[in-house]
Symmetry: C2
Subunit: 220 residues, 2 copies
Amino acid sequence: MLDSAQDLFFSKGYEATTVADIMEQAGVSKGGFYHHFTSKDDLLEALVERMAARALARLQPILEEKGLDAVACMNAVLSRSRQLKAEDAPVIRATFDIVFRPENVALYHRLNRAVNRVMMPLFVDIITRGKMEGRFRIDDPTTTAEIIVQLGASTYNAVARAIEAIGTPQADEAAAALDERLRQHGLAIDRILGLPDGTLVYSEPGFAKAVLNVPAGRKR
Amino acid sequence: MLDSAQDLFFSKGYEATTVADIMEQAGVSKGGFYHHFTSKDDLLEALVERMAARALARLQPILEEKGLDAVACMNAVLSRSRQLKAEDAPVIRATFDIVFRPENVALYHRLNRAVNRVMMPLFVDIITRGKMEGRFRIDDPTTTAEIIVQLGASTYNAVARAIEAIGTPQADEAAAALDERLRQHGLAIDRILGLPDGTLVYSEPGFAKAVLNVPAGRKR
């Protein structure tokens, strides 16, 4: 059902796809659909959760690599995460096109919470390690992880502006502004963890453009 | 219409109040209601915006007080804000009872955004001053204000737990845990602004209990 829904969302668009379309494509009954999901938004949340779980599975091995301290580990996770986003750019673009519509802001927060729930253990693990190494100056790793994952939502406006600008003469400028905004996001997290400014790398010039300026779709 | 709705929400409860109830109590037609609001949630957002605007009006004069540097000003705003919350405890409790229900998490984020929109200029003003005074080590005051107001949402789980515990033997413990969580919130903001730990006071022991352990209602 998730695969059928994802296909439909990408081909027809999220708003245009009905629960009936999904049931038909997946060959399930009304009872079958509502056994698993309460609504189309609910299904989208499950889809985003699956995307996050798959990303987590590809980030998790970094924690097992030998010789990485918590700072190196965090930067490796951030770097691999940017790489995954660039690889999945068409899917991310398609998802963002739905989620960053002004009328879908509540849906954005719901999906953001779902992603954060999936990613929390990874961050708790790294932050606990950084505290034990004496490198992260923090009290409680779980609270710190909660603060850091929630902070992602503060980039909402910058992302929304960059998406809105796609296809206009302001697109490159808005993408560069998002890169700068992500750099400042990284600075805030350095500070929260008690690290020198610029320790963690949350963005690279050109990253936002590479993820956003692709046609929405399944795969590149 | 806002007053009528507020009365009904507090007497009958938010879920039990219908748009028809509000129209009847306020003596407005269906056309009159839908001219101003698209739904009951939309009206609640307007109500919360009005509460935030009233709070802002009582905080704003602090910025005009002579002899306060940005740190003193921020702490005065935080302290007056706690005082207002304690005074309005029954109203806040009633609002939280609606907003922190698990099924209303999207509504929580919507209302949180509305409050943040109202409060942003106050924080931009203080943060700009702190940067000019050389006390806040930050780049862009607007971005920093955006980060700080958004960070409030990271306390969601701790507030939800404290509300859930009201009336149980764990109530005091959960309220104390929320006070501690707010203290850690303050530390994160100290760090983001480049201030020594403990500069800004976001909580006091007993504050959460004073706000939450009151009966929900209009006024004490």
